[in-house]
Amino acid sequence: MKDALKAFWADGDHLTTLLLLGLLVAGSVMVRSATFGTKFAGLAPRQTAWCFVAVAVYFVAVLVPYDIWLEYSYILYGLCVVVLLAVMILGHSVAGSRSWLILGPVGFQPSELAKFASALAGAGYIKDLSHKVIGFREFSILSAIVALPMVLTLLQPDFGTATTFLPIILAAFYLSRMTLGQILKWAAMALVGLVVLFVLGWFTFFKPYQKERIVTFLNPSTNIRGAGYQVHQARIAVGSGELTGKGLYSGTQNRLSFLPAPHTDFVFGVVSEETGFLGAISLLLVFLALLSRFLSTLLLARDLEGRYLVCCAFSVVLYHLFINVGMVLGLVPTTGIPLPFISYGGSSLIGLTLFVGMAANVRAHRFVR
């Protein structure tokens, strides 16, 4: 342990640690402001508590060298799949989705953890490869590793979270070396798989409200009035923040409930309204620095499994940012995907912290021993 700390002090990714800590503090503050004086006010201290848990999880993720993590990756992956199956049967239902595991006072969405586990298992699989090349066969297997928990999440059904598995497949694709023919072949296989799954699901175990959710998801314009109102109010929140913002706890769109879901999906609206252009840009710059750090780690990583882990972290965090901030700014359609580290929610926070921790881990252990 002492050696590990010493090694971390010497080679560790301190910038990433600082950036992460900054994001966690920002998240705590914004959730507090977004819930201040509402019935959700109790969520602010919970989020802060989650942040402390995240810090602990981060250090565990960083201090244990990633090749040791990879040795346990299949076990962790298998555990996650089992839990996902259990949740489908025993899970707590929120808003029509069976995605919650309740352990005493703490609720957790195992799908967020399964996302990390599938990236880890993929890296473990790459580690065992002798030729260290991701070709058609390897890419298909990596995809299958991600697809299993993703499909289970889809069946909960939680479409928003299910889509956050996709950037992992994208990461694998990005690192692969395939011919165009192989890519098309894989795409055809994926399409057939999805259609079969969908048809099977539709006629066997989807409940009417689940089908309704699918229809709404595939065709958001059926609920355009509500969504349009949300987007409009979010834009007002952002714009009215002007250069310097209205001040913490003083955002009228936030505090007077014009902004929808201010502590979760639309928390970036609160940031923009209350801290203005300067605050919003600062937050984005922190994310930009973190993601740039991942890209530099990508080039520094000592092996393919390391690169895969970093690429997954980059891909997942960027995907969340793109969808969430893009939604608040009115650039992409409304989807319930949180802003990493800022939106309220312990599961997403821990899951994403693990990705960041693993990217920092790869950087810390970039030297070949």
Binding site: Q233, R235, G239, L243, L299, L329
Partner: protein, 653 residues
């Protein structure tokens, strides 16, 4: 050893870096556009979100009688308003209202309410709704999000029917009113006077609404939060209350006189001759102004409009009737003034006078040789046919105009009509041909081309009381206003007054309103409605064909403190029912006889019962009463809105 960096990985990382910067550049530019370039616009939008202008409604001024009794006050009332700017389905809301509030309203009614509202998005669906709806709407915020309950102040007339025609009533501002009164304010609850004092003194009574800016949340509920206190929010423009108005009415007298009618139709006005202060203003049948203060339903309105008794007609100024014998003192006065007649001028009454081939009758079989005072006392027709014939229509017209007969009195109430004072010029102007001398004779006894409003007749008797000074009759208290002074000789006046005194105190037709010690001077009149009534006992006729009964006068003779007129439609002889009503009023004024000692106890209604459930849907009402025709003279025969008058006795065509 570092693994060899293959060129493709380096290129891939560069691509990802470009992708990353592209995404963040897009975000940055978008933020810059929204927050820096468009920031002002969105700030305004966010301010519009949370600020709501709340109208602070100003109460209309109270109405008080001369003794400070409250004639009209304000009460709190709740109204149901639909705000279509809230978004949502009107049809769904209608269905939800039916289910939750048990309130039925058709889509067409909602559309009509939206149409007439001065605020395009606001519809007043119902007024005087039960306060419990407030909680029901709060509890079903989701389904009834378009609805809200607004508080408004409504008029409350504690005396109910009493003096309704003087007080008038109010109604929601119509677009026409808004234009006329130059009211630009956009509030669906502005009420303006539609009749009576409420209309005449509307500007003084109305006051001005205030404005408050409130901070509301997305549900439209007001939020007090010190952290969100922003400039402009909470700014108050204080409402300015309407000024209270004291009226000259004496509600005790009003109640006594009004009760005196006891089912009869007609009107009565009591006035102070030396100031023009109106003490009582009665027009029966009455209407209850509280009816208009609640939501008048279309059917209620229809019933009021079609009531054969014409309750909305303000009879003292909108009813024009032949004055009958109450006109005779005027003829005498003109004769005396012009030196054509004296008190001792004698004519002989044989019960009938042949003139121009027509027989002109007296009500009596013959008074014999009769002088002026006796003729007034006994109301001899033949004497006044002769007198009128001597005086001539030109002089009657000249002096009638000076006394304001056939003219508006200028009373401070809206809707006054003029009546008709016939003359050759008048007849010519209407293309009715030349004046026949035979047409002067009916006028001499108050028939023919002659109609007056009760207030005009009162004004004439009041001018007799003052010795020629004409005051503007006033309901609203204030300084006296002299309209004109008629130059009449005291000698001529003394003769006429003596005649009027004898009518009451000398065994004449007005003995019914004699009050010992108070020298009441008055003249009764019987205006013929149907020709057939001549020579018949009027009480043997159907009610609708009986003569109108008049009595007008003043008292006490030497220092008059009150002038009065009582007119009972189809009341028979003025000396009977009219004198009884007049006496009741005079006894109260002179002897302090209170209601309980006179007729039935007319305890004024303390207050209207509070509004109950089943509110009514307001309509475009209440409009104003139908304006009386200025010169109601179809086919040359003076008609009045309230009488179906036949051809007067013996008018030679």
């Amino acid at each position: 050893m570092r693994p060899s960096l293959d060129a493709s990985l380096s290129a891939k990382a560069t691509f990802l870096r470009i992708l990353l910067w592209t995404v963040f550049l897009a975000f940055g530019l978008r933020l810059f556009y929204l927050q820096v370039l468009q920031g002002n616009t969105y700030r305004t939008l966010s301010e519009n979100n949370y600020t709501r202008t709340i109208v602070l409604r100003s109460p209309r001024g109270m109405l008080l009688d001369r003794n400070g009794k409250v004639l009209c006050r304000n009460r709190v009332s709740f109204s149901l308003v639909m705000d279509t700017a809230k978004g949502g389905s009107i049809d769904d809301t209608i269905a939800a209202m039916k289910r939750i509030l048990e309130f039925r309203i058709a889509r067409s009614e909602v559309d009509a309410a939206l149409h007439r509202s001065p605020v395009a998005s606001l519809a007043v669906l119902a007024r005087d709704v039960p306060p419990s709806w407030l909680q029901k709407i709060e509890a079903h915020q989701q389904e009834l999000s378009m609805l809200r309950i607004e508080m408004e102040l409504r008029r409350d007339y504690p005396f109910g029917l009493y003096a309704g025609h003087a007080l008038g009533y109010v109604g929601l501002l119509s677009p026409e009113d808004a234009e006329k009164l130059k009211i630009k304010e956009k509030d669906p609850f502005i009420e303006v006077g539609k009749a009576g004092v409420e209309k005449a003194a509307n500007v003084r009574l109305m006051g001005k609404n205030g404005v408050r800016t409130a901070q509301v949340n997305s549900l439209g509920r007001e939020v007090e939060d010190p952290k969100l206190r922003l400039p402009g929010v909470g700014l108050v423009e204080e409402p300015v209350s309407g000024k209270p108005l004291t009226l000259n009415l004496d509600m005790d007298l009003q109640t006594i006189v009004e009760n005196g009618f006891a089912g009869e139709t007609g009107s009565a006005v009591f006035m102070k001759p030396n100031t023009g202060e109106i003490l009582a203003w009665v027009s029966v049948p009455e209407f209850n102004p509280n009816l208009f203060s609640k939501a008048v339903s279309a059917s209620d309105w229809q019933a009021l409009m079609e009531d054969p008794g014409k309750p909305l007609l303000n009879r003292p100024i909108q009813g024009a009737y032949p004055p009958g014998s109450t006109f005779k003192p005027f003829v005498a006065l003109v004769g005396l003034q012009e030196g054509i007649l004296t008190a001792s001028t004698v004519f002989s009454c044989g019960g009938v006078w042949e003139y121009g081939g027509h027989a002109f009758h007296c009500w009596s079989k013959g008074h014999g040789a009769i002088d002026m005072l006796t003729a007034i006392q006994n109301s001899c027709n033949i004497y006044f046919y002769h007198a009128g014939d001597r005086v001539g229509i030109e002089r009657l017209d000249k002096w009638g105009t000076l006394f304001g007969l056939g003219r508006k009195t200028g009373v401070d109430l809206p809707g006054e009509t003029t009546g008709v004072l016939g003359s050759p010029a008048w007849k010519k102007a209407r293309g009715l041909g030349p004046w026949y001398p035979g047409e002067t004779l009916p006028i001499s006894i108050g028939q023919g081309y002659l109609t007056v409003t009760p207030l005009q007749l009162l004004s004439f008797y009041s001018t007799l009381a003052t010795g020629g000074v004409r005051y503007r009759p006033r309901i609203v208290s204030g300084p006296p206003e002299v309209l004109s002074t008629v130059d009449v000789s005291p000698e001529a006046l003394a003769v006429v007054k003596e005649g009027l005194w004898r009518v009451v105190n000398g065994g004449g037709t007005g003995k019914g309103c004699q009050i010992p010690g108070y020298d009441v001077c008055a003249k009764t009149g019987t205006a013929q409605v149907v020709e057939a009534s001549s020579g018949k006992n009027t009480y043997s006729l159907e009610k609708g064909e009986r003569d109108h009964a008049w009595i007008a006068g003043f008292a006490p003779r030497n220092d008059p403190s009150v002038a009065f007129v009582v007119m009972v439609e189809h009341g028979g002889h003025g000396g009977d029912v009219g004198a009884r009503i007049a006496k009741a009023g005079l006894e109260y004024l002179f002897l302090g006889k209170k209601p309980g000692e006179v007729a039935g106890p007319p305890a004024p209604l303390p207050s209207q019962s509070p509004p109950t459930a089943a509110p009514e849907v307001p309509t475009d009402l209440p409009p104003e009463p139908p304006p009386p025709e200025d010169q109601p003279v179809p086919e040359g025969i003076p008609a009045s809105p309230a009488t179906e008058q036949g051809n007067p006795t013996g008018v030679a065509p």
